[in-house]
């Protein structure tokens, strides 16, 4: 089935889909259907639905997440749905996963529905410190959520659909994954990126433990009200790996809460709550990997636009962000020489 092209069409499909999932429901109605984002990895719509289920009225506010035609990530909605479903009730705040259209039969592309959670996700107000005390408490709460997520006994949770890893192989698997995307999507040789991958492969750390890693753990990927985090969003990059990866990613310059909580304080809080020690060299490795990872995400999005697989303009010029990320990579290398050369300036 082709993707829905109008809200009316989408509302009809939602009704049909929900009826298939709720066979005892009658008088099903969709209201307030509206797009939240034309996302870079998926499209998100909010809606309310009500029905009579059995003899009782039922009413819910939901969001529909539909995989984008092409985007900056190669996502598997089925995997994300399953992990969020498993985390419900674990102490890690997530939205409740409700129903999935795995093969896109109803919505044209793989999609799932979550219960809507109250709160804002806007990043700029957080980083501008419009409520600095709230931003500070949110950052510390985020450290607490990381501690909770990373100390979950994931084997008991049943995440056997995630690629298994070990403390020895966790870093290498991530490098290999992102390098495979780089080789698939690059549009030119990119010697600086090749150099970055060589360095990473020569400096793989051993993890202290294996945990569920969110993979996109940061300000901007949470729903908050005041200083309270109601839900962590966007689990499409979740995997088993070294928990330090999430800490490093949370402090990338684009969304870092360092104006309110320094990285050292964040790590101290995290260690106090989780008992997981964060080795500085491992942290540096994952901060370096983070710059490469974001470069590849940008490259993947830019390639999708160049190939005509998406018309999302947000992805069109993403390749232009890569130089800054790779420059950050070079600056963080041990013994980096940050001098600007006169040759480079000759334009």
């Amino acid at each position: 089935m082709a993707p829905a092209s109008s809200p009316v069409d989408l509302a009809g499909r939602l009704c049909g889909f929900l009826a298939s999932k709720l066979p005892t429901a009658r008088e099903l109605r969709i209201d307030s259907l509206a797009p939240i984002t034309a996302g870079n990895a998926r499209e998100v719509w909010q809606f309310d639905f009500q029905c009579i289920d059995g003899n009782a009225p039922r009413k819910m506010s939901c969001v529909l997440m539909r995989k984008a035609a092409a985007g900056q990530l190669e996502t598997e909605p089925d995997r994300e749905f399953r992990i969020v479903d498993l985390l419900w009730g674990s102490g890690v705040p997530v939205a409740r996963a409700l129903w999935i259209d795995s093969d896109g039969r109803w919505f044209g592309r793989p999609s799932f529905i979550m219960e809507r959670v109250a709160g804002a996700s806007d990043l700029p107000p957080l980083l501008k410190g419009e409520a600095a005390q709230d931003s500070r408490r949110l950052a510390l709460n985020l450290a607490g959520i990381a501690a909770r997520l990373h100390t979950l006994e994931y084997e008991k949770l049943g995440v056997n659909f995630l690629q298994p890893t070990t403390i020895e192989s966790a870093a290498g698997q991530q490098v290999q994954y992102w390098e495979s995307l780089f080789l698939k999507h690059r549009m030119e040789p990119h010697p600086a990126m090749v150099a970055a991958f060589i360095w990473l492969k020569e400096h793989l750390p051993t993890a202290r433990r294996v945990s569920i890693v969110h993979g996109d753990f940061r300000f901007g990927n949470l729903l908050y009200e005041g200083d309270r985090i109601n839900a962590l969003l966007d689990w499409e990059m979740a995997h088993l790996g070294d928990p330090v990866e999430d800490i490093a990613w949370a402090y990338r310059a684009l969304w870092s809460p360092r104006a309110f909580v320094s990285l050292d304080e964040f790590v101290s809080r995290y260690t106090e709550l989780s008992g997981i020690q964060v080795d500085p060299e491992t942290l540096r490795f994952y901060r370096l990997l983070g710059e490469v990872k974001h470069s590849i995400i940008s490259l993947t999005g830019a390639r999708a636009f160049v190939d005509g697989r998406t018309r999302n303009l947000f992805l069109a010029d993403r390749a232009s962000t890569i130089s800054a990320y790779l420059m950050q990579f070079l600056d963080w290398l041990p013994g980096a020489d940050k001098k600007t050369t006169s040759t480079a300036r000759k334009l």
């Binding site: 040789p189 010697p191 060589i198 069109a316």
Partner: protein, 170 residues
């Protein structure tokens, strides 16, 4: 005729869109798409005339650095599998060097060839065979690695000038 320049035109288009079209759009995906389009047009308006010279200087810098790398390799302490100095020097003789005013496309194609040359050198430099290199060979390998790293930094600095140009005050 040089005026209005392409930069003037694109900059004007971006300003018109921002001032007269954007305010008419409600918050939502369409407005966000236009905001991104304006940012792209603005960036292109600032760099359209710098991209060719960027490629020219990038190519020259890569070539000069590879010539220096050849000189190190010709000392004969370190051998890079598949990247001997004679082969490197042959690959440095690109068509664009023979043209007085190489067109943009020729410079871009040459840049890609030279990028690949750098990839080949790096991969050879980090091949397992060199992991247990002797003292003098290791010193030469490290010398070449340092030259490459300095070159990559210069290349990224040049890229930044066209990818993230300083924004003029409005």
């Amino acid at each position: 005729m040089t005026k209005p320049s392409i930069g003037d035109l694109l900059g004007g288009v971006a300003t018109s869109l921002r001032e007269s079209v954007l305010p008419e759009l409600p918050t939502g995906p369409t407005r966000r798409q236009l905001q991104v389009a304006i940012a792209i047009i603005r960036r292109v308006s600032l760099v359209w005339d710098k991209v060719t010279s960027y490629l020219y200087f990038d190519n020259r810098d890569i070539e000069q650095t590879v010539i220096q790398i050849c000189a190190v390799l010709e000392r004969g302490q370190v051998e890079l599998v598949g990247v001997d100095p004679a082969a490197l020097r042959r690959r440095l003789k690109g068509d664009d060097a023979r043209i007085e005013y190489p067109p943009h496309d020729a410079l871009a194609a040459r840049n890609i060839e030279l990028q690949q040359l750098l990839v080949d050198i790096q991969e050879a430099l980090h091949a397992p065979a060199l992991h247990n290199a002797s003292g003098p060979a290791r010193a030469e390998r490290d010398e070449i690695a340092a030259m490459l790293q300095a070159l990559l930094r210069r290349m990224l600095e040049r890229e930044l000038e066209v990818n993230a140009p300083p924004q003029p005050a409005r």
